[in-house]
Symmetry: C2
DNA sequence: TGCCATACTTCCAACGATGTAGTAATCGAT
DNA sequence: ATCGATTACTACATCGTTGGAAGTATGGCA
């Protein structure tokens, strides 16, 4: 350690300072940093100078020159939805492996902020965007003029206008509902419909739900399909309250996500229903909460790590080859049967 | 809308293109964008050209010139810890109000990534950092040479080397423990100790716990103070398993965060303990999950919005006045008593 | 010894925006 | 009509970095 004080003034060291100290040209310093061919002795001296001065490259300048920033945006509606929090974690980690940093944008699911996202986030700041839309539909995205590479998450829009990663929501919802029907349940409710949206995840899950009922020979009773404005516990709790007040309450509920299910189970419990004996409950997303809840929650488990990996791969590919046709990736999912629709052994360990 | 096609080639429009189209100099375009004095007619023309070309400023270039980026980093250990997810949401929203964008860095609580954070995140990319440390202690932070403004979250280090926002963890833990003692509990356990750390949140909470026991005239039994490596549900579940296997299990547990508590409650339930009759449980953080859990979780509720606001204010102040002495902000907290330590009326609504 | 390939290194011009200095036009006051 | 002040704009240098062209040793080979 021959280090001297890192910097005399406020301004931090630039390549010029390093070059002066090492007695070489600026470009040579650049070459050392970028691993280009440099003589061993020179390299040594330059690295010493870098250490002495505490030099760190200025990203803005580098990006200006290179035309890219090394930053990718992840735009999700709400970070405190466990599903998005878990997904964000995986995406941040995966991006890190590829040398990218993730900038998280929280849209709140509103038009204005989502429009802002597909318009390229106000400035040339990110090299690409992974976007989980709520308000924007296929048309909005097809109309976009911005050229920032974009990957869509979650809403399965066939032959969409952009790269897209999703699970087969219809099939997943059908499996979940069929599971309930297979248990002998006959009045199966759904929580999480969003009738005001024409497309979107909720719509897919509702379609799968209806299809499964028909396949099982059960009537589709509209009063058992309960809308939920947001997908928070509160909304699930309210929907369940409504269901218990029906003349003939359901004996099973398929919730379009886990937080709805957790909220619903809370209300069901408060009103004296036993789960799963009186009402079986199935959720969607497989968040950590559901595993440890009492009772633990049966749920559709999407391959979140697979979503993160695929989204990043699509995005990085597009950054390199911007004109290739849009691709669709469907990630696998599976049904995890737990206590809320199965056995309730007291001593069963959470899975 | 007199807009023509946004861009012919791949390269997106720069100020030069806008200037050419509007028939003015580049600087005039810059002035229009930055709100400097420009004639009404000229402004009009320039704005039209901006719209026509779909021009958006290049952040890298602007930053290179201005020396700031408009980006703040938020470094937290894990995004899928609900506490951090909820906090991140608030911080993102608050920063947005101030015209800043938040770049989220997930440290995983490890040395390497945390060191990277206090070293300024590898390059001059962000204007400031809000950092919730796990591995780094006071000394590491005092030693840092990087000058990027830094605000620390969560770990109360008196007269620390940097701006700092926290709640009074000792007092909060004491209140929580006193609450349990006040219910007549005599064998009060704690989950979440981290003996290998000298400082940090866990340490503060343990101190408060011990203090409360002494004040209540209860013996401090070391076997009832259970460590937890991480603060996930799994760790809470394991710790609770250990506690139930003691000769004389506890009649109350204070968990150092809510996810530990939720995991612990799951195990307690599995092993036939009734909550709160057999074991009362108190958590820390007031995450949304705890409100809807069965039973709902008594917890220490820190003013998260206050933390977000204070952290941002401190950071923005420091960005402007880098040399002022470090400040400490203590945010208020309160105990939210719910079912896990109180009444368990079946029909009680979640709060 | 002379010539050339090889291996480093330097010089210069960008990247896109903004600050400073300077010029042209306009205005009011004399 | 003249001056100074003000306004509206332009030209140019600059931020820190990298790509490419050009330059300079070094060593090999005839």
């Amino acid at each position: 350690m021959t280090s001297t004080s890192p910097q005399p003034g406020r301004r931090s060291a630039s390549m010029k300072d390093v070059a002066a100290r090492a007695g070489v040209s600026v470009k040579t310093v650049s070459n050392v940093i970028n691993g280009a061919a440099v003589g061993a002795g020179t390299r040594e001296r330059v690295q010493q100078a870098i250490a002495d001065l505490g030099y760190r490259p200025n990203i803005s300048a580098r990006n200006l020159r290179r035309g890219r920033t090394g930053i990718l945006a992840l735009a999700v509606p709400e970070l405190d939805q466990p599903y998005f929090a878990e997904l964000a974690r995986l995406i941040v980690d995966t991006a890190d492996e590829h040398g990218y940093t993730i900038l998280i944008d929280q849209t709140g699911g509103g038009d204005r902020r989502e429009q802002y996202v597909i318009d390229g986030m106000g400035a040339k700041l990110v090299d690409g965007v992974i976007f989980s839309p709520v308000a924007m539909d296929r048309l909005d995205i097809a109309r976009r003029v911005d050229t920032t590479p974009l990957v869509l998450l979650g809403e399965r829009v066939s032959a969409g206008p952009a790269d897209h990663v999703a699970i087969d929501n219809v099939a997943a919802a059908r499996t979940a509902t069929a599971h309930l029907a297979g248990l002998g349940r006959r009045r199966i409710a759904a929580i999480g419909a969003q009738p005001d949206r024409v497309q979107g995840t909720s719509h897919m899950r509702e379609r799968g739900f209806r299809a499964a009922l028909e396949e099982a020979g059960l009537p589709v009773e509209e009063s058992l399909i309960v809308p939920a404005r947001e997908y928070h516990r509160r909304d699930g709790a309210e929907a369940a309250a409504y269901l218990t007040e029906l003349e003939e309450p359901p004996d099973a509920v398929f919730c379009f996500n886990d937080t709805l299910a957790l909220g619903a189970m809370r209300t069901l419990h408060d009103r004296g229903y036993r789960i799963p004996q009186d009402v079986a409950v199935v959720g969607f997303d497989d968040i950590d909460d559901g595993r440890y809840n009492v009772p633990s929650l049966t749920t559709v488990s999407p391959d979140k790590a697979g979503i993160a990996r695929s989204a990043l791969r699509l995005l990085l590919d597009r950054i390199e080859a911007i004109d290739s046709p849009p691709r669709e990736v469907t990630v696998r999912h599976e049904l995890r049967v737990r206590e809320s629709s199965g056995v309730t052994s007291r001593r069963s360990r959470a899975t």
